[in-house]
């Protein structure tokens, strides 16, 4: 075996992922019980990790008293998701989220306020007002880091968690991983684990062909999805892919919710608006896709009609937060908002419940279907949760995990699981020669584009499954020259797992739903009679990937016919 060290530790709660939800979960668990030993591990460095590593320019699902109500919000999310939601999970977010805003505000996160000190909520959506800008949101990670340190949470950076350990009863009792600089192996006993690993953002290949030019932070390769799957957790509605409109080639968000309240909008090549759909949803992406592919394409972000002072304000916000290299990109292409519309495109596919609904199933307590395993943030299946939902569910996970571990002891780790994972992780380092991980990743993700990109075609997805099985053989021939390349090699295996899940989940639901996210050419219509249900996916007792239906939970807030119809009237039919 290799000469690398194995480090063994024990904690009450281990949180994997230090981006948005993870720090909140860790701080909350410590606040709940100061005596708990809480560890936050991150494959990067928690100072600048995750989807908001450079900050965030606004909230787009803020439910602020006087502007929107939890009930109204829950209705809108229900409608935007074609009815397939667990309203209890959405409502739990909606009812708690204002407290999250106030907590972040106390910590020093800056939200826009008007000249009387009230939150400057903007109306973008049809029924309620949910947009709260954060023009000074670039400090958010700094604020979180400070709170983490002051809460005395232990932090381990640059360790990639690869598998969870489970006890005889199937409950999670530990985490395994390795250091991406030393390749040391880590085995951490835990009474509870909280997965906050973000989206599966390296599933599709960006149109640029550049592996790391993804919409998501490319550290978010889908590690959490794969770990949850291998631990036996159920994943929900994975066929509801994440696809986002973005700036072409740059592949960063166009931030319509920043420019929208200031008068900017998405336009076709005639400079005219074309989006009928009100809510960020697969339906909106369908309309975007149709325009892009039709004679009115390409699609643009139009700002050239705004006043000079407004454009300066937009540049100030968009070029300093979230993706600050945007100004440099526009300058390089000679694009000036004053004279030119900005060419847009749609992103590669991914899993992300933060923007759509594809995630590891959780209930309103952030519990997964596996005992001792919690999840929050982009990877946890609460639809359209975004950043504020990640914080809010991080809070739920922290509170509930702290309660869960209170009366529990560590259980014995299974040495066979540890030995198997050690062997799997180190195999690429031990090969004398072999395939380069970057090339295997490129080919795998090109196949994802070729066979899984919507509109989805049955025969293509079946071929895709065959190709993903072939890639499994390639994975067993990868060579890594150092610990860094080993990290990339392990990520290829994660991406392959996600690709197979995406194909199987998409083949299982034999209807079309959620606009472009799950448009099946062979089943072009929505079929409520057979498919008004969640579709879950898990690894069964025999290790086989299995899909099954789960009934939609009874609604807590009923939608009347008018509300349903008002929305349907706004729709463009599937062509």
């Amino acid at each position: 075996m290799s000469s690398h060290n194995t480090l063994e530790q024990a904690y009450d709660i281990v949180i994997i992922g230090g981006g948005t939800a993870g720090p909140m979960a860790a701080i909350t668990a410590k606040e709940k019980n100061r005596n708990l030993r809480v560890l936050l591990i991150d494959k990067a460095n928690v100072k600048r990790s995750g989807a908001i590593s450079m900050g965030m320019d606004g909230l787009n699902n803020a439910i602020i008293p006087g502007h929107a109500t939890p009930e109204q919000y829950t209705k809108e999310i229900t409608v935007a998701n074609d009815g397939v939601v667990n309203q209890a999970a959405v409502l739990a977010y909606a009812e708690r989220s204002f407290e999250t805003i106030e907590q972040l505000d106390r910590w020093g996160v800056k939200f826009e306020k008007d000249e009387t000190g009230d939150y400057a909520v903007k109306k973008v959506h049809h029924m309620g007002a949910y947009v709260l800008p954060m023009p000074e949101g670039h400090d958010i990670k700094k604020v979180l880091y400070r709170q983490l340190k002051r809460a005395r949470v232990d932090i381990t950076n640059r360790v990639i968690a690869t598998r969870l350990l489970t006890d005889a009863s199937g409950a999670v009792n530990g985490v395994m991983g390795f250091d991406c600089r030393t390749a040391d192996f880590h085995v951490i006993k835990a009474k509870a684990v909280i997965l906050c690993c973000g989206a599966a953002g390296r599933l599709g290949l960006p149109a640029s062909g550049y592996l790391m030019g993804t919409y998501e932070n490319p550290t978010n390769a889908g590690d959490g999805y794969a770990m949850a799957y291998h631990a036996g957790a159920e994943l929900a509605n994975l066929e509801c892919f994440q696809i986002n409109p973005l700036i072409k080639d740059y592949n960063g968000p166009a931030c319509a919710y920043v420019t929208g309240p200031l008068g900017g909008y998405t336009a076709n090549n005639k400079g005219e608006r074309f989006i009928e759909c009100d809510y960020w949803s697969g339906q909106m992406m369908w309309e975007f896709h149709q325009e892009l592919e039709g004679g009115n394409g390409p699609v643009f972000l139009k700002l050239d009609h705004l006043a000079e002072e407004t454009i300066q304000n937009i540049e100030e916000i968009l070029h300093s937060n979230e993706r600050p290299s945007r100004g440099q990109f526009h300058a390089g292409r000679g694009t000036d908002y004053r004279q030119h519309m900005v060419e847009m495109h749609i992103s590669e596919i991914g899993f992300c419940s933060g923007h759509s609904a594809s995630g590891v199933w959780v209930n309103e307590r952030a519990e997964t279907s596996v005992k001792g395993l919690y999840s929050a943030g982009d990877m946890a299946a609460v639809p359209h949760n975004y950043m504020l939902g990640a914080f809010t569910y991080g809070w739920f996970a922290g509170v509930n995990a702290a309660d869960y571990v209170a009366e529990r002891d560590h259980s014995e780790l299974d040495e066979a699981q540890i030995a198997a994972e050690r062997a799997r992780v180190y195999a690429p380092l031990q090969r004398e020669s072999g395939l380069p991980p970057a090339q295997v990743e490129y080919k795998l993700r090109r196949f994802v584009n070729d066979y899984l990109q919507p509109p989805k075609v049955t025969r293509k997805m079946e071929i895709g499954l065959q190709r993903f099985a072939d890639i499994e053989n390639d994975i067993n021939q990868m060579k890594a020259s150092n610990a860094h390349e080993l990290m990339r090699a392990m990520e290829v295996s994660v991406i392959r797992d996600c690709a197979e899940m995406a194909a199987r989940a998409s083949l299982f639901r034999k209807e079309s739903r959620w606009g472009l996210y799950h448009h099946r050419v062979d089943y072009p219509l929505r079929n409520d009679a057979e498919w008004f249900c969640h579709c879950h996916l898990k690894r069964d007792e025999n290790g086989v990937m299995t899909s099954f239906k789960k009934a939609v939970e009874p609604y807590l807030i009923a939608l009347d016919d008018n509300e349903q119809q008002a929305y349907n009237r706004l729709r463009v039919g599937a062509a």
Binding site: H126, V143, F274, N562
Partner: protein
């Protein structure tokens, strides 16, 4: 300065190194511990390090510590000879959240130096400290626009009714555009018609941002008497102002605005047509139905949606 924290002890030699860069990096590592025991060294560096980049780093790193010696140190750094240090200290002060910190800052708001005055006032705004109101009221007459701007912020956030006449005076009399604009916005907490005249006058301000703010604030206040002035604002040179005027007429449900809003339905900027369509629904007058029907096939889907919403409202249906 004493500690038994081994992490701090380890850093001490580098904190007193002869090299500026070494001291600065050691200071960053010290702050990274987020341990209150490290504060004396940080405060000492802020006040006494001979190198301006080290003092500036200390000023940045001390952000979000509310301890009185930190706040005092940051206030003192507002008069540091180096510009970077002063700016960093002002930024860190603006992050504070406790009223105790505010009381330390308070006397600095009357400092002879403009930068110190405006920075202290800026830091006080979010704290909503009642004691800062009289000082802010006085500062409304300050010779420097940056100071007046921050003073307006304090009074607006405190929602000081007693300050309304002075704020209203600034809306029309202040020579600085940004001061007039924020003062206009600050009038939004008024709960009577005392500010109406000032806001209506602001609709005629020479700068469009002030007019836009005035149109918005009049909607927030919901004063019916503002109707005629808002109707006039529908002809503003800037569509941005017209848009806010249309929205506010909707909020007021100002019945006499109907024919003017109907005309706006034909404007070339679709953002404005959309707002006019929505406002016509809010007026609840079926007389708008014909005009809205004529706009049902507008080229812009957002306008069509707004028209549908308003028609549903006028026909008594739910949206």
């Amino acid at each position: 300065m004493n500690t038994e924290n081994p992490d701090i002890l380890e850093l001490l030699p580098r904190l007193t190194d002869d090299d500026v860069g070494v001291r600065r990096i050691a200071l960053i590592e010290l702050a990274d511990l987020e341990d209150p025991e490290s504060l004396p060294w940080l405060v000492h560096a802020l006040g006494s390090d001979p190198a301006d980049e080290v003092r500036a780093e200390a000023a940045r790193l001390l952000e979000a510590w509310e301890e009185l010696e930190v706040v005092e140190g940051l206030c003192a750094a507002l008069v540091d000879p180096d510009h970077k240090v002063r700016v960093a200290a002002a930024q860190s002060l603006s992050q504070l959240k406790t009223t105790e910190a505010g009381r330390v800052i308070l006397p600095w708001a009357e400092h002879a130096d403009v930068f110190v005055r405006s920075s202290a006032l800026r830091a006080l705004r979010e704290l909503r400290l009642a004691e800062s109101a009289p000082m802010a009221l006085k500062a409304l007459a300050d010779g420097e626009a940056s100071v007046r701007r921050e003073a307006v912020g304090i009074l607006g956030w405190l929602k000081q009714t007693a300050a309304l006449p002075e704020l209203a005076r600034l809306v029309s009399a202040d020579p600085d555009t940004e001061v007039r604009r924020v003062a206009t916005g600050a009038l939004g907490f008024a709960n009577d018609r005392s500010v109406l005249q000032a806001l209506v006058a602001a609709l005629g301000d020479e700068q469009w941002q002030v007019r836009e703010e005035a149109a918005t604030t009049l909607g927030k206040l919901g004063l019916q008497d503002a109707g005629p002035a808002l109707v006039t604002a529908l002809n503003d040179d800037y569509w941005q102002v017209r848009l806010r005027a249309a929205r506010s007429l909707g909020k007021l449900a100002y019945a006499d605005g109907l024919s003017s809003l109907v005309q706006v339905l034909g404007h070339s900027i679709s953002n404005l047509r959309k707002e006019a369509a929505l406002a016509l629904g809010e007026l609840r007058d079926p007389a708008a139905i014909a005009a809205l029907q004529a706009a049902e096939h507008d080229g812009d889907p957002e306008v069509r949606k707004a028209v549908r919403i308003s028609l549903a409202q006028l026909r008594g249906g739910q949206v």
